[in-house]
């Protein structure tokens, strides 16, 4: 399948990419890892006249730690995050990166591209929304930094202007006593998950001091299950409070019936994923090394 013909431009810097897009106008698009955009072009769901390729810009793929914060260059590939020792400081990030699609897609797809696309079934936004995440952007009038919850506006819609791009993703390392987990259920590796759950808990003994719970693929964007968080915050973490939180997450989910399952099935999945993610997050908060990952046959 061939996409519709387009003009190809290779940016030498992020600044140049922004000015190229401004000059080329509304018919131009940025090309990051391309693992979502290229399939869309081939199906001719997107038909840009111009593509500005970001893949040849140096210095946009990095993972750095700086005073309690991890910084990810926008073009950092999922596989680079999966294998980076530094990213394991926030286990949710490793869970997320290591399970996105398959090896081949993780070798190409980027964290910045994923956030900028804002696919409701994408993994990154749901995992990152449970953390203190800032998105650094660059546009014609300069740089700005947007809190992730303000960055994603709707399905496939972000705060980015047409000629603005993501340059860096900044994630605060949670305090000691905090643990997180990201679980997604998908039918096979290369497909989008049917549902996903991200949990970040801060514990003092068995008491949950703080909780962030987000649900993916079951709404137009990642849903913060605030009632589920309230069911845990200030409470003892036990089977009963975990079950209450999971039921509150079921109520917060707003899934649609599609080829990945019925709405009812997805709500049931949410309950199971939230329960498991809470259990893994709690064990990690206590300092245990526990594996958490995407689940598929």
């Amino acid at each position: 399948m061939y996409p519709r013909s387009f003009h190809y431009h290779r940016a030498g810097s992020l600044k140049e990419a922004v000015s190229m897009l401004g000059q080329l106008g509304e018919g131009a698009k940025f090309l990051a890892g391309g693992q979502s955009l290229i399939p869309l072009l081939k199906l001719r769901f997107a038909n840009p006249e111009h593509l500005v390729d970001l893949n040849f810009i140096t210095g946009t793929s990095f993972i750095k730690e700086d005073s309690g914060t991890l910084h990810f260059g926008a073009m950092t590939r999922h596989a680079e995050i999966e294998h980076a020792a530094l990213a394991k400081k926030i286990p949710v990030l490793h869970d997320c990166a290591a399970g996105i699609a398959d090896v081949q897609v993780r070798n190409r797809g980027t964290i910045g591209g994923s956030l900028a696309e804002a696919d409701p079934s994408g993994d990154w936004a749901n995992a990152l929304i449970t953390l203190d995440t800032m998105v650094h952007c660059l546009g014609p009038s300069g740089a700005r930094t947007i809190q992730l919850s303000d960055f994603i506006k709707d399905a496939y819609t972000t705060a980015l202007a047409h000629d603005e791009l993501v340059t860096e993703v900044e994630v605060k390392i949670p305090p000691p006593g905090s643990g997180g987990a990201y679980l997604a259920f998908k039918r096979t590796a290369p497909v989008y998950p049917s549902a996903s759950a991200a949990v970040q808990l801060t514990l003092a003994g068995d008491v949950c001091q703080d909780a962030a719970i987000a649900l993916g693929c079951v709404g137009l964007m990642a849903i913060r299950a605030t009632e589920a968080e309230n069911a845990l915050r200030g409470k003892n973490l036990n089977d009963e409070t975990i079950a209450t939180a999971a039921e509150a997450a079921r109520a917060a989910a707003d899934p649609q019936t599609d080829m990945r399952g019925s709405a009812e099935y997805k709500r049931q999945l949410v309950v199971a994923l939230v329960k498991r993610a809470i259990q893994i997050a709690a064990r990690r908060a206590r300092g245990e090394q526990v594996e958490g990952a995407h689940l598929y046959a």
Binding site: Y2, P3, S5, Y8, G34, D53, A79, D102, R108, P190
Partner: protein, 166 residues
């Protein structure tokens, strides 16, 4: 080639290494890497399966990493080193991965095999003794509709042993 209006689109120069040999071509930007390999370079061992980033039949190595060549434009491979299934054999001798797939009956129709062998190549270059779990994860992006995968797992384990022993 489908579609009209291609005459107004500038072709772009691509210079890359394919299976260790330099290659230079002028390509339309929309030409996918898999079509470039098959049609411009006559390397038809890389297959088009689903053409939707699912099946992995088009997997090649770009700078040592497995990528789906149906989900990249040829222009994006500029300056890179590409290895296709044709590049595995050396001096008329099968690569240990190719030999292991044959010896373990790790294929039936063979359509998915080139892609599977290149995913295996990335796995074994990082870890010559993968566990079954690691093998499953490494080839999760490659669909086989014939074998049921059991002999593929055996082939990958055997290939790892052959590479380590070599």
């Amino acid at each position: 080639m489908p579609e009209t209006a291609t005459s107004t689109i500038d072709k772009i120069a691509v210079n890359l290494s394919i299976n260790g040999k330099p290659c230079s071509r002028q390509v339309e930007p929309r030409m996918l890497l898999v079509e470039f390999l098959r049609e411009a370079c006559d390397l038809t061992g890389t297959h088009v399966g689903c053409d939707t980033t699912y099946c992995g039949a088009c997997t090649v190595l770009m700078n040592g990493l497995a990528v789906k060549s149906c989900t990249m434009f040829a222009v994006q491979a500029d300056g890179s080193q590409i290895i296709t299934v044709e590049g595995l054999e050396k001096d008329g001798k099968l690569h240990p991965i190719q030999k292991a797939f044959g010896d373990s009956y790790g294929l039936q129709c063979g359509y998915c095999t080139p892609g599977l062998m290149l995913s295996t190549h990335q796995l074994l270059s990082e870890n010559s003794e993968p566990s079954e779990k690691e093998i499953r994860k490494a080839i999760a992006g490659n669909t086989c509709r014939c074998t049921g995968y059991m002999n593929i797992f055996k082939a990958i384990k055997l290939a790892g042993r052959n590479i380590k022993g070599a």
